[in-house]
């Protein structure tokens, strides 16, 4: 039974009222891009299948309509990674279970619902706490910045350790000194704040506003598995790992999410010699970087980007004139400060800087979360 929220809540099963708990709005694509988040409906039905996959878990249920017709619906839920972080397992839901789910319907009218709540039989079966990320950081020991024998900070795990950087304090580029409310996808709470985000050129501001008003629906990272290159690498929920090869004076940046991308940085000033297509005429998603240490800060300068990707959550545009200066400073054991200066005279009126922190999550490896798993 499909029940519009405005008229259906009084008729919901008591168990739903008792049991349903909110799910965090984490997902592979912006929920608003696919679902009409301005409305909510409720479905009741019997589970027919569970697809326990990234980027989103799907639960399929048969819903009996008022005319007795049975329609199969897809309930979309957060990623397998997030659900497993919160204790869920593939067998938590099984075919035959009676469930109720509430949330927004797909914009395109297909039988899909984003499950903000999902309950069965009086017991909450799907919960993902809003403070899941904070919970995962609990119990970390405070410690000073770990260092190599040469005194430079370690950006990756020490021998015998595991861990990676995650939970960025900011989810989109935003010029330092500005305060603008936005969600984890970089979607503005108020579109009138768009001009505060960065010193846009006119066309770039209008394009940014268009993408925002369009709920980020055209984001090529979600649609086509395009790499989250540029500063966007450090805005992803599923984290970043540094693999430092001191002997070769280079380090690799590995990313969870995206297509399992990586980036190579030489720390002795070398460019990426031998990089096929790494010229101004055939630029790259990750550009060409040179890196050096400035005291305790790794400074990376990158240019020759292509224009085939969004370089930030939220849809800020860039052009092939983009040059980035990134500064990585491990403030202590648990905090990595990332500051990026954007110099793109093709899209912005002046260079500008955005800064945020990431958190060290010890005891875990980068989760496997690849966009190749994507499905409609």
């Amino acid at each position: 039974m499909l029940v519009p929220a405005s008229v259906g809540l009084p008729r919901l099963l008591p168990c739903l009222l008792l049991a349903a708990l909110p799910l965090a709005a984490q997902a592979h694509h912006p929920i608003a891009a696919k679902f009409d988040v301005t409305s909510s409906s409720t479905l009741q039905g019997r589970v027919t299948a569970v697809d326990w996959s990234n980027p989103h878990v799907h639960v399929y249920i048969n819903v009996t309509g008022g005319d007795g017709e049975i329609v199969n619906w897809a309930l979309e839920l957060p990623s397998r990674v997030e659900l497993e972080w919160s204790g869920w397992r593939p067998e938590t839901l099984a075919p035959g279970m009676e469930v109720s789910a509430s949330g927004p319907l797909a914009r395109n009218g297909t039988h899909q619902l984003w499950a903000n709540t999902l309950a069965s039989g009086g017991d909450a079966v799907f919960t993902l706490p809003d403070d899941l990320e904070t919970q995962r950081l609990a119990g970390r020991a405070d410690a000073p910045t770990p260092r190599w024998p040469d005194g430079l900070p370690r950006l990756g795990p020490a021998p015998g350790e595991t861990g990676y950087w995650t939970l960025p304090s900011q989810h989109s580029l935003l010029e330092d000194g500005q305060t603008v409310a936005m969600d984890e996808y970089g979607l503005l709470a108020n579109l009138d704040d768009a001009a505060k985000v960065a010193p846009f050129q006119g066309w770039a501001l209008d394009l940014y506003r268009f993408r925002q008003a369009n709920q980020l629906r055209d984001d090529p990272m979600y649609l086509y598995c395009v790499p989250p290159a540029g500063p966007r690498q450090f805005q992803q929920l599923f984290g970043v790992q540094f693999m430092e090869e001191k002997a070769r004076q280079r380090l690799f940046l590995l990313f969870s999410g995206g297509g399992g991308n990586w980036r190579l940085l030489y720390t002795d000033g070398r460019e990426q010699i031998g990089q096929i297509s790494g010229t101004d005429d055939n630029p790259l998603f990750f550009g060409n970087s040179t890196a050096h240490w400035d005291n305790d800060t790794l400074v990376v300068e990158t240019s020759r980007f292509n224009e085939g990707f969004w370089f930030s959550n939220g849809g800020l545009p860039h052009t092939k004139q983009l040059k980035l200066t990134e500064r990585f400073t491990r403030l202590d054991q648990n905090t990595l400060r990332y500051a990026v200066t954007v110099d793109d005279p093709g899209a912005y009126t002046r260079p500008w800087t955005s800064t945020w922190d990431m958190q060290w999550l010890p005891g875990e490896e980068l989760p496997e979360y690849y966009c190749q798993d994507n499905r409609p």
Partner: protein, 135 residues
């Protein structure tokens, strides 16, 4: 001859089109389409446009009939485009093409421009261009 020219242009395009979609300035890139006075008389058109941060520049129909675009403007308040150039029609006759169009489906990798054109002789009609996307 016309088929040969188009094939040559298409081959050339294959070597010049970047193998990725373009998410930067909405006009930058290679656009393919046609123009003409009516549905039955159409002239093949390739525009290659670029944005240097201050001005949009471009050329039409790369190859032996290539011509620079004299004026290209974009009004991002409504995504309207003005194009002023001299192009050769299918009979290789020069035409002073003054086009007014609008970018449609702006967020798509294969967005398009549709609009109308006129020349100094009082001729007019429609044109359509589609942004080419790599594989």
């Amino acid at each position: 001859m016309k088929k040969y020219t188009i094939a040559t242009l298409a081959l050339l395009l294959g070597f010049t089109t970047p193998a990725f979609a373009q998410q930067g300035h909405p006009l930058a890139g290679t656009w393919l389409g046609d123009w003409g006075p009516d549905a039955s008389t159409r002239h093949f058109l390739i525009l290659i446009m670029d944005w240097d941060g201050q001005a949009i520049t471009g050329s039409a129909n790369p190859g032996p009939d290539a011509t620079p675009i004299d004026t290209l403007t974009l009004d991002s308040s409504d995504w309207s485009v003005n194009i002023d150039m001299t192009v050769k029609d299918s009979q290789s006759q020069p035409v002073h093409f003054k086009g007014e169009g609008t970018i449609n489906d702006l967020g798509s990798q294969t967005r398009n421009i549709t609009g109308t054109w006129s020349d100094d002789e009082g001729h007019n009609g429609s044109f359509r261009l589609e942004r080419q996307s790599g594989p």
